[in-house]
Symmetry: C2
Amino acid sequence: VGNAPNALESRIFQRVRASGGRVTAPKRAVVAALAASDRHLTAEDLAERAADALPGIAPSTVYRVLANLEDAGVVEHVHNGREPAFYHLRDRGHAHLVCNRCGAIIDIPDDLFTGLRATIRRRYGFTIEPHHAALLGRCAACRETH
Amino acid sequence: VGNAPNALESRIFQRVRASGGRVTAPKRAVVAALAASDRHLTAEDLAERAADALPGIAPSTVYRVLANLEDAGVVEHVHNGREPAFYHLRDRGHAHLVCNRCGAIIDIPDDLFTGLRATIRRRYGFTIEPHHAALLGRCAACRETH
DNA sequence: ATTAATGCAAAGCTTTTGCATCTTC
DNA sequence: GAAGATGCAAAAGCTTTGCATTAAT
């Protein structure tokens, strides 16, 4: 839609620069697509949306932009057991539930993991990153339908 | 190794038959490979090991055998955020931690999820299946090395 | 006999990589 | 002008599929 300079996006590009990256048209287009959406976009989704602003954008560029934004700490990708992974801005932290049957994605707050994280840390020395992989299972609707 | 009829494998093939499947040489070879190992084998690993007993086995056959064994409820596969997925017999239930850095796999008991599962069920109506996706993060060694 | 399962080869799909060129800082 | 980023095209990696053949029940 608009291309007005926006506080969220400014902060993002500050971090991109801080991590040694440059601010380019493809990055602007991908960030705009991420910011405009209610998240949960695959790389292919993002390539399509970025192409609105930047018709010639290459899929490989989208992947590289996303990797770069992850390095800068502004994007996260989530594995969902189906593939492809989806991406979102790393604003407020939250984890995801993904239904094995219908693919529905439910956001859940990080604090649900507090207990489990502490237990796993204590017993195994392992630090879980609950954002990085979705919890798979069955949503309410699909459980009823069986 | 040996090819003696074994209680575990007999039970497995009962279930295969019960689910409408047939007991074939490739299934025997894959099940033997799964049973012989300490788990965490990829499809490719299994293809290699099954080939010891059955030299000509095709990769696509391994995938189809595994899908069939999952339908029969005797095998599970686990997504680990790296790909490829790994497979194991569904004996005692356990979930997995996978280190993002070194790929180490740690088995953890299901009961760690009791609280989280109940909370998610209550709040979202969603039933998590903790076996199906590994929890990703950093193992102790990789956290120290940074 | 039926019907599932196999082998082979080819294709599918997501993601990565090589390399020459262009842009940003 | 130096280093990063891009586009294009090709490749890689894992997995699935089509189809004729074989084998299990």
